[in-house]
């Protein structure tokens, strides 16, 4: 809990900064673990229910661990009219999960956002911070191949090491 303590300290235990505190905690842990929320609740003297209501209201927060690779599909208007729904559908099919979920092997988390503001590249998919513009179901399939191959070789290597 040292890391949360530091974040709380940085914000001088100011309850009105709870959203920023949760944002930083999420950056630190990649999601908001229950123990962390409980710790924040105790140390800010804020009811846990209030913290949960904030953590569930804002889209940026996740209460579940997120996968190693983070896939974001932009569903802005420009992306929508240029075929984003098809691209999303293909990714969902491929990973066997719906947007907002993480694959069972914890490899991929899939999320949608309302607009990344890079509409000239519509439709856009971002994987681990890398932008893939003018995406199509066909192109995205190939890109996923790359990531999934990388993952299988990684796991194989890990197994060999063991």
């Amino acid at each position: 809990m040292e890391k949360v303590e530091k974040i709380l300290c940085d914000y001088v235990y100011d309850e009105s900064k709870i959203i920023q505190i949760l944002e930083e905690a999420q950056n630190e842990y990649n999601y908001l673990p229950k123990e962390v929320l409980e710790y924040i609740s105790q140390n800010l003297n804020t009811p846990l229910s209030k913290i949960y209501s904030i953590a569930t209201f804002y889209n940026a927060f996740s209460l579940n661990p997120q996968g190693e690779h983070f896939i974001t599909v932009c569903m802005g208007t420009a992306c929508h009219v240029r075929g984003a729904p098809m691209v999303l559908e293909r990714i969902e099919e491929r990973l066997g999960i719906k947007a907002g979920m993480t694959t069972e092997d914890q490899m991929f988390t899939l999320k949608t956002v309302n607009c990344l503001g890079a509409c000239a590249l519509a439709p856009i998919v971002v994987i681990d911070g890398e932008y893939y513009g003018k995406a199509t179901p066909q192109k995205i399939g190939k890109i996923l191949d790359k990531y999934q191959q990388k993952e299988t070789t990684n796991t194989k290597q890990k197994e060999q090491v063991k």
């Binding site: 944002e23 940026a60 000239a120």
Partner: protein, 599 residues
Amino acid sequence: MKEYRLHTLICAGTGCVACGALDVKEELEKEIVKQGLEDEVKVVTTGCQGFCERGPIVIVQPGDIFYQRVSKEDIPHLVEEHLLKGRPVKSLMYVPGPEKPPIPTMMDIGFFKHQRLLVLKNRGRLDPENIEEYIGFDGYRGLEKALAEMTPEEIIKEIKDSGLRGRGGAGFPTGLKWELCRKSPDEIKYIVCNGDEGDPGAFMDRSILEADPHAVIEGMIIGGKAIGAHKGFIYVRNEYPLAVKRLKIALSQAEEYGLLGKDILGTGFDFPIEVIQGAGAFVCGEETALLKSVEGKVGRPRPRPPYPTEKGLWGKPTNINNVETWANVPAIILRSAEWFSSIGTEKSKGTKIFSLVGKINNTGLVEVPMGITLREIVFDIGGGIADDEEFKGVQLGGPSGGILTEEHLDTSVDYESLTEAGAIMGSGGMVVLSENDCMVDTARYFLNFIQEESCGKCTPCRVGSKRMLEILDRIVEGRAEEDDLKKLKILAEKVKKYSLCGLGQTAPNPVLTTLRYFEDEYKAHIEEKRCPAKVCKNLFKYVITDRCTGCTFCVRNCPTDAIEGEVGNKHKIIQEDCTKCGTCLEVCPVDAVEAVDNE
């Protein structure tokens, strides 16, 4: 300051960065050193140039030479030819159409020629992370004037006389809002900058914050002085990390220069500004919800009155304006209300920034004088519809807005004319739609957005939008019944009338305007179970025509193995297995795949 023979300006807006602008910059710097030009050529990264369609963009000054779609590989040639030998490189210039000659200079390109830059005047000419460059272009002179020569009343009068109206959507007169807030009796007052920019498909505010953060800061300090506020907040949406970073740099530089914080410019006026990053909720763009979020609470709107100018942050009078509104302020103070009000129409003064997206050739960010026509924006600046498709409509104002059609192309772009035509000015989202876009699907898209973003506090919005969405789902899926259209209209009116905040009150607009201009399209879906634009999946199918050469390309690429066929024989789509993903259409080398109505 050191003098350079040439400046190369690299656009580092989000769009260009996503296309590899930073790699281009790195290569450029390396190559300049390699050629021994580092004392003659300066490399500057700038804010968004707006012509995102053509990124990454590099401009060479003097000469205003505009290079587009520049890749890392182009750099050695560019450096050697232009920077060393002084011969501009034609192959990297913009070409307006087939068989047209390339256009070397930026201001001769249609996309830029018809724009009028007031708010975005610094885009692409200065480094947003360096306050000295902003100061070099008259930066903070408006603030100096306001603090040294004007009383708060005079500042407010100047803003009122300028005719500036809010750019966040509603178009409320800015000077009047300031006056109301100034007159609210309280010792403590706040200023807020609304940078939540929730309209999906719009990025005006992000671009201002990234390209010219000091303009917003300067505007807010002037506003703070006029209103008698003691602190400012800038609320930026979660998805804009670069804007937050640039703002934080700008704020600390402004403080270092004595332009922000304590005793500004030695006048005894104290005004600090804090940046707050949102956490992803569209409704937080609504002012009362935004204030709750700044206070660290769940961002749900409350009824108005009382307006924020009376009861805002922590119950204190608070003046909230949009990013673009604030960015207009310094120039008005520096150059006069008279100058500002000479631009635009009788009731809509100045310029407006739009993000021009969708089925348009020149996707990008444009700033135009009020009173320009939609036709000029779509065709002269935007270069017309992409892929030679037919123009069908333009959607303004995002989920709160409406669609205008061919017959409105000559409408003047000002608050009143757009509202009268059935749309709104909105915050500046402009989505161009072509014959291949389905209006029912578009309306459903916005309603789905609203339904997901509804905060749930009031029933008309929470439940009403859900019921409306269910009807639209039935229509696009071909399950609708005759009276669904009537039900949809009734619901739309009720949601509009009884919702608590602007989110719900405007939510039915996309449905109502598409119904007004494209009722036929709704009827085709309901009565004939047909989607004329071939967008709604249940209502059309793909077939392979006789053009098929039997190359098996589609067979091998189909993700659901829904195509059968052997080399040299015409292929066939097995309809039961087809998910209509369109991959076959995309990969077919002879355009043999067609979308047709179901029998």
